[in-house]
Symmetry: C2
Subunit: 236 residues, 2 copies
DNA sequence: CGAACCTTTGATCATACTCAAATGCTGTGG
DNA sequence: CCACAGCATTTGAGTATGATCAAAGGTTCG
């Protein structure tokens, strides 16, 4: 979410730094503050009974840390957030942001867009995990991430920075690290993409999209195609 | 969501009826209205590229049809809603509900609770699909549904009404109908639960909870257990 | 320079899918 | 009321995707 300078200056805020692995927000606690990532990457994750970890998603500079917080009031959040790389977060007071959103400004439209994106993405992720096989999930994951990196202007000349480990990707997609490695190797051999030296390079985006849309053979068909509901354009 | 009578009377609203299978809201369109299910069941579903269908969840009488709508403004919704049984929906004007929520009334707390529940459930579903095996997903699904049915006061003397078909359950959990049948049969033989004559009966809830918490063997452990983040109590 | 972690690879195994056919249920028209 | 069509459920045999376990290289960092 971007905030225009004039409105931002009127908000109480402060910036904090985090080391890799450090907790930014704790699962099952409520929070009165609302933040956006200034620099670095973070992960939103959820601990499940039995010590399993599910990674909901990766946040890149510019992303909001907990969009949910704007609307769930004092209820505890269902996941935690921690720093993936060194990161800085700019914190705002949730109540004052909410007040700002009651008007009709740009902020309102922006927030509603990201809210819709966030919801849609959550839905989409759940759907893809259930309805596609490993290469499809991986392709889908990469495409969503890259879309966000592009929108944030974080494309490098030769690709994208990609700090997550394969273990983290595995925990995000519900796969084992070994299988993530195999799937990535296969994509590299097919000339689709490559992740090396913490850098992601896409060689054949068209094929990547094809792979993401491949259905599990198990899936029955229900009428005609529909779009994914994932907003692809930026908010105006 | 419940609305207290005094505030409700001041809202413009109308009630519509739907036949089984009829669309209530269309995927990828935006909506200005906000509804709650008066009677009958509905499903929220998402069409995926290739004609696959993902069912996000089942709505029971009392549930809000599109909680998202309150916060995503004029952006299109990422899923559709259609009637599972004969159903009636009470529609409100989204804008007027939002105005109501800017105060500090009971409605605000209720809505925030359900918002948190909705978010948490979405997260949880995505996590479970990736991190548990078929019996666990099924158990989790049943428990969440039954929790809602109980809260809505929809328990029957001998169990719960259960109109979904196994095909719909399969589309919700990312399984095939054949495998859902096998898993249900196995649960019935173990004396855990039974679905017969559109009625769900739970014989051993404790074991059902155990099954829901069984981790996939693949899952590595990360520190201690945490709760699921799924709110189990009703809003005060 | 060593320790800890991450990635890769290989052999084996099981969960869940495929395809197919049989059975049961429901509603509709003769 | 019965026959039938159309779904939904069940069962079985075979298969494959992705998991397990293990061990060997690579990185990174103190």
């Amino acid at each position: 979410m971007k905030l225009s300078p004039d409105s931002v200056s009127s908000l109480r805020r402060n910036v904090s730094s985090y080391q890799p692995g450090q907790a930014i927000l704790h699962q099952d606690k409520s929070s009165e503050v609302f933040g956006s990532l200034r620099s670095g990457w973070a992960i939103a994750y959820k601990m499940l009974p039995g010590g399993r970890r599910h990674i909901q998603g990766f946040m890149v500079p510019g992303d909001t840390v907990v969009l949910d917080l704007l609307h769930i009031g004092s209820n505890p959040i269902s996941f935690g957030v921690s720093a993936l790389t060194k990161a800085t977060v700019c914190w705002f007071n949730a109540a004052s942001i909410k007040r700002l959103l009651q008007g009709d400004g740009v902020q309102k439209a922006e927030t509603e867009f990201w809210m819709a994106y966030y919801f849609g993405g959550l839905n989409h992720r759940a759907a893809m995990i259930g309805h596609t096989e490993a290469p499809g999930r991986l392709a889908e994951f990469i495409l969503e991430l890259v879309g966000r990196l592009r929108y944030r202007g974080l494309a490098k000349s030769d690709g994208y920075e990609f700090p997550p480990t394969q273990l983290q990707v595995a925990d995000c997609l519900g796969l084992t690290p070994a299988y993530v490695s195999m799937t990535l190797t296969s994509l590299r051999k097919r000339g689709v993409l490559e992740i090396r030296d913490r850098t992601l390079r896409i060689f054949n985006e068209h094929e990547l999209i094809q792979i993401a849309n491949e259905k599990k053979q198990s899936s029955r068909n229900f009428g005609a195609d529909k779009s994914t509901g994932r907003p692809s354009q930026s908010p105006k």
